[in-house]
């Protein structure tokens, strides 16, 4: 059955089916893809009890958006989301939603926020930079968690900040939300400077006091992902910072997003962050009286499951924003850390006819005491026609679920604890989302049994290749243990080689594959994707995600893997690289492709300031020219490190460990 209805994110369907039990809050950012374009989207008809459209996406502000952009972030009430998904809500809500429905092409759910919705007041018109005087620098923007904006590495020698703008999306004090977005708290550079000045004692800045006065509780811990990443991307010794050093914009994502590692709820607010960065970049140019500045955005986030063909809403949106901005915009993403996580399976199935349909099995291992929901996505080619059947641990099997089908497994009192949804929309790749309640809950919410779940796949049509990914669900660095990562299990999968090292190559006998474990947010065309390698021996970091992504070969730059790699570990035993802890003077090690990506962000900002090409191809060329190995690299190596390894030896990354 081919569906013609609007495409609602099945993660949203799961949230509605579970009555938002695992999410708290009433207002949710959603990423909307609209037809025909965002510029034509009319906002005045929407009911403010159900939908709020940030001013920045409304006319006339959005006139500055180019027609090619088809994405919007709006904030919707859960009642509206429920009515949309269920297709029928109370008449009062349905009537109010009608004006919206005709515009939606796709809708993706985000994590809840506490919006401010200030009383509309006349906002300054968003101005586009019109001057032609060239700017003297570029902008580095970092979207992350735990940005220690008072840190010395982001200051001039005078003590003044290098930040132009900082937006904490997590701040619900409503004190100074950016008016054009409507939630969080914005700290422009001059406000940060006031805080820094008033917190200086005996010539020393008390950073604790800065954050206390600003009401920001982001960086109480010694080590934070965002500070480390940002130092690598743009930190400088204050003595070396000058007028041509990059301008900085920081966006702190809600901690909720970071904690909910599936990343399924990340996309709307990341899109809002990008919109924010671009609008403030224009403002900076207007204030400086220069032409628009080049912008490089570091987004060190990753997820595992997705189509891996560049079509997810956020990937599309990033591609559009890059293509639409006349002045270069670069977005740098990590290749992901799940090469050895056993979260990808791929197998081929022969063409079949009744009654001898071939059946393949996948074993999905879900840990006990996993307090976050677990998800698996099965992605198929467009022509596929399969059926799936689920057997929970110690429970009867589901019926076979066909295209367009839905199966829910309920608790004894009728709550959804597991849901399988076979999405089959015209013109789109069919896919299946398996969504599972947490295996442990302190609150009286439904749970699913931990153990090995059997997923059977029956091919009823043409010969196909089936890809399945288990979504990310671990606990991120620096947060209380909540989620535990589920994975595939298979008796033929070999984890260790004969010497006892983690085995880094696939064996065909097992459907579990290390290939194509690249960050599921990083398969688009225009973003720059960075893997990790070890400084000591140039070997790819064991966890660094591999391509290829499923881009059609007709595209000029198919994604064989990441575009390049940077140092993610100093050696096999010295994990990670050194950069700033949250307080001035502290140095800590963090590993992962998250810390490799910002090295290239830094490189790109330098290329921008030097007025050199800085796009994907330029980064690949740079990597190929600087890689220490024989060129061309073997294809298996390209899948992991792209065109080559970039070792930022002296570029103001002060610390090495030998």
């Amino acid at each position: 059955m081919v569906e013609t209805r609007k495409i609602f994110d099945p993660y949203l369907e799961w949230a509605v089916a579970t009555k938002f039990a695992y999410l708290s809050g009433d207002w949710f950012p959603v990423l909307l893809e609209v037809e025909p374009s965002a510029a034509s989207f009319v906002t005045r008809d929407f009911n403010p009890d159900l939908i709020r459209v940030p001013w920045i996406y409304q006319a006339p502000a959005r006139d500055s958006f180019d027609a090619e952009v088809t994405f919007w972030m709006v904030i919707m009430h859960r009642a509206a989301l429920t009515a949309l998904v269920e297709g029928k809500g109370p008449d009062s809500i349905d009537d109010k939603l009608q004006p919206l429905l005709k515009w939606i092409r796709r809708l993706e759910l985000g994590s809840p926020v506490v919006p401010h919705f200030p009383t509309p007041k006349p906002l300054p018109e968003r101005r586009k930079p019109l001057a032609t005087r060239p700017p003297c620098t570029a902008i580095v923007a970092v979207i992350d968690d735990g940005l220690a904006f008072a840190h010395e590495r982001f200051r001039f020698a005078t003590g003044a900040t290098r930040f132009k703008y900082f937006w904490n999306q997590d701040d619900s004090t409503f004190d100074r939300a950016p008016q054009d977005l409507g939630w969080g708290r914005e700290l422009p550079g001059d406000e940060i400077n006031t805080l820094l000045r008033s917190s200086t004692h005996a010539g020393v800045i008390d950073e604790d006091e800065v954050y206390r006065k600003a009401g920001q509780r982001l960086v109480a811990r010694r080590v934070k992902h965002g500070t480390h990443v940002m130092d690598i991307a743009c930190g400088l010794d204050p003595q070396e910072a000058n007028a041509s050093s990059p301008y900085l914009i920081g966006v702190q994502l809600p901690q909720w997003v970071t904690k909910e590692t599936s990343g399924g709820l990340l996309t709307p607010i990341v899109y809002a962050a990008l919109t924010y960065i671009l609008s403030r970049a224009d403002q900076i140019a207007v204030d400086d009286g220069t032409a628009a500045l080049q912008v490089v955005v570091n987004l060190s986030y990753g997820t595992i499951a997705g189509p891996h063909d560049g079509t997810t809403p956020l990937e599309r949106a990033i591609d559009q924003l890059i293509a639409a901005r006349p002045t270069p915009l670069r977005v740098v993403l990590p290749a992901g850390n799940h090469y050895l996580a056993q979260c990808h399976a791929r197998f081929e199935m022969d063409e079949a006819a009744a009654p001898d349909y071939p059946v393949r099995e996948l074993h999905w291992r879900v840990q006990p005491d996993d307090q976050s929901a677990s998800f698996m996505e099965i992605w198929l080619p467009e022509s596929a026609d399969i059926a799936v059947r689920i057997t929970p641990p110690a429970a009867p099997a589901s019926p076979w679920i066909d295209a367009g089908g839905l199966w829910s497994w309920l608790t004894a009192d009728g709550h959804v604890r597991f849901r399988a949804r076979y999405m089959n929309s015209a013109g789109e790749r069919p896919w299946i989302l398996l969504a599972m309640a947490p295996t442990a809950q302190i609150e009286p919410n439904p749970t699913a049994p931990s153990g090995t779940w059997l997923v059977e796949i029956k091919n009823k049509g043409d010969a196909i290749a089936v890809d399945a990914w288990v979504q990310r669900g671990d606990t991120p660095f620096g947060y209380p243990l909540r989620g535990r990562q589920s994975r595939f299990e298979d008796r033929d999968y070999v984890r260790f080689d004969l010497a006892g090292r983690p085995k880094e190559s696939d064996n065909v006998a097992s459907p579990i594959r290390r290939r194509d474990t690249i960050n599921a947010l990083a398969t688009e065309q225009n973003a720059i994707v960075i893997g990790g390698f070890r400084r000591s021996d140039y070997h790819p970091s064991r966890y660094s995600g591999a391509g290829p992504a499923l881009t059609p070969t007709s595209i000029p730059l198919p994604r064989i893997g990441p575009d390049a790699a940077a140092v993610a570990d100093d050696s096999a035993v010295l994990h990670g690289v050194l950069a700033a802890g949250t307080r001035t003077g502290s140095v800590v090690a963090m590993s992962g492709t998250s810390v490799a990506a910002p090295q290239v962000t830094r490189l790109i900002s330098k290329l921008m300031i030097d007025r050199l090409a800085s796009d994907r191809r330029a980064v690949q060329d740079f990597a190929a020219a600087h890689d220490p190995g024989p060129q061309p690299l073997k294809p298996t190596l390209q899948e992991r490190i792209g065109a080559g390894r970039i070792e930022v030896r002296s570029a103001k990354l002060r610390w090495t460990r030998w």
């Binding site: 004692h201 005996a202 010539g203 020393v204 008390d206 604790d208 006091e209 206390r212 509780r217 109480a220 811990r221 010694r222 080590v223 209380p480």
Partner: protein, 347 residues
């Protein structure tokens, strides 16, 4: 074994007993001479010093009339007795107030509970600090100024005396004010260390460490002059040690705030007792009933860190009328001067 050997040795060498000659031996010591302290072992010195410090203190219980005319609930004051001999040689005393503390209301403690939840986020980050600070956090001070058991043994002895004084005073306050611990207000605080068996308010860690900070500041100042950076580092260290107790789950921020006031005040009192010259003494009143229920501890509210001076900015701390300066203790002065010597540069 040693005794047996010594018996046999003496028998082997002593010879016949002869009365000692009048010279070649030390003379009789002077009475009540502080210099004699040099020769007592440190445990004895500690007893002598403690006696001198504690015998001049007294506690009273009373309510306070505020500047706005309102009357507080009953609080506790610690007083210093200046002693002069009367005509019949019996001591005659006049009292100077050192500090007064009024405890917060139940509602204020309840409002403060949310900090216990919020600060618990940092437990993983601070666990090693918290555990090392359950006993006297000497290493945290030795790492800022150069304390060493051989090089600065009198400084360490002085700090030990200060710590004992702080402990006696704070325990007396804790006993009198008898405030319940966070884990008695909520079952979800779940501290990561054993909640000590005494009251919550004031925080002993805050009291002791702010006192240490001030004394180290004064010692260094006597030797090298003012160093604003040192003041910053000392005050930040004291505050962090104190705040870690909230992270651990055993103190409210208001406990720390009063501990800071008490520690800085006792530090100044201790130094004035060790030195002649002060003409009066600034006493403070910490009014827990006026503490903002949602108020976190910010060490800068009451302290100018760069100069290590109190500033009566917060509405819950009142400056009391100047009190007569406490008289100098010759005993404490001796130890103070010994400690100062350890910081002087060699000529």
């Amino acid at each position: 074994m040693a005794a047996d050997a010594l018996i046999k040795h003496r028998d082997g060498i002593v010879g016949s007993w002869s009365p000692p000659p009048p010279t070649g031996y030390p003379a009789q010591r002077d009475v009540e001479e502080p210099l004699n302290l040099r020769d007592w072992d440190p445990g004895v010195r500690a007893s002598v010093i403690d006696f001198d410090l504690l015998s001049h203190l007294h506690f009273t219980q009373h309510s306070e009339k505020r500047e706005d005319g309102t009357l507080s609930q009953e609080g506790v004051s610690v007083w210093h007795f200046n002693v002069t001999p009367g005509a019949d040689q019996s001591p005659r005393t006049t009292a100077s107030r050192i500090a007064t503390v009024i405890r917060p209301t139940t509602e204020i403690f309840q409002s403060q509970l949310r900090f216990l939840d919020e600060y618990s986020d940092l437990r993983e980050d601070r666990a090693s600090e918290i555990l090392s600070q359950t006993s006297y956090p000497f290493p945290f001070w030795a790492s800022i100024v150069y304390l060493h058991p051989d090089r600065t043994k009198k400084t360490i002895e002085l700090l030990d005396a200060a710590l004992r004084l702080a402990n006696f005073v704070e325990m007396r306050f804790k006993h009198a004010l008898a405030c319940r611990r966070p884990n008695e207000y909520s079952l979800q605080v779940q501290p990561i260390i054993l909640t000590p068996g005494h009251g919550s308010f004031p925080s002993g860690h805050a009291t002791e460490n702010h006192m240490i900070a001030r004394i180290l500041w004064e010692l260094r100042k006597a030797a090298y002059g003012m160093s604003p950076v040192l003041g910053e580092q000392l005050m930040r260290q004291a505050a962090r040690i104190a705040i870690n107790r909230t992270v651990a789950g055993v103190h409210f921020p208001v406990d720390t705030a009063v501990g800071q006031m008490l520690g800085l005040t006792l530090g100044r009192y201790f130094i004035q007792r060790a030195q002649a010259g002060a003409t009066d003494f600034q006493a403070w009143r910490f009014d827990g009933e006026r503490y903002p229920p949602e108020g976190d501890f910010d060490f800068r509210d009451f302290c100018e860190a760069g100069t290590v001076t109190e500033k009566p900015v917060p509405s819950y701390i009142a400056a009391l009328a100047a009190q007569p300066a406490p008289d100098k203790s010759d005993i404490l002065e001796w130890l103070w001067l010994q400690a100062v010597q350890e910081w002087r540069q060699l000529p």
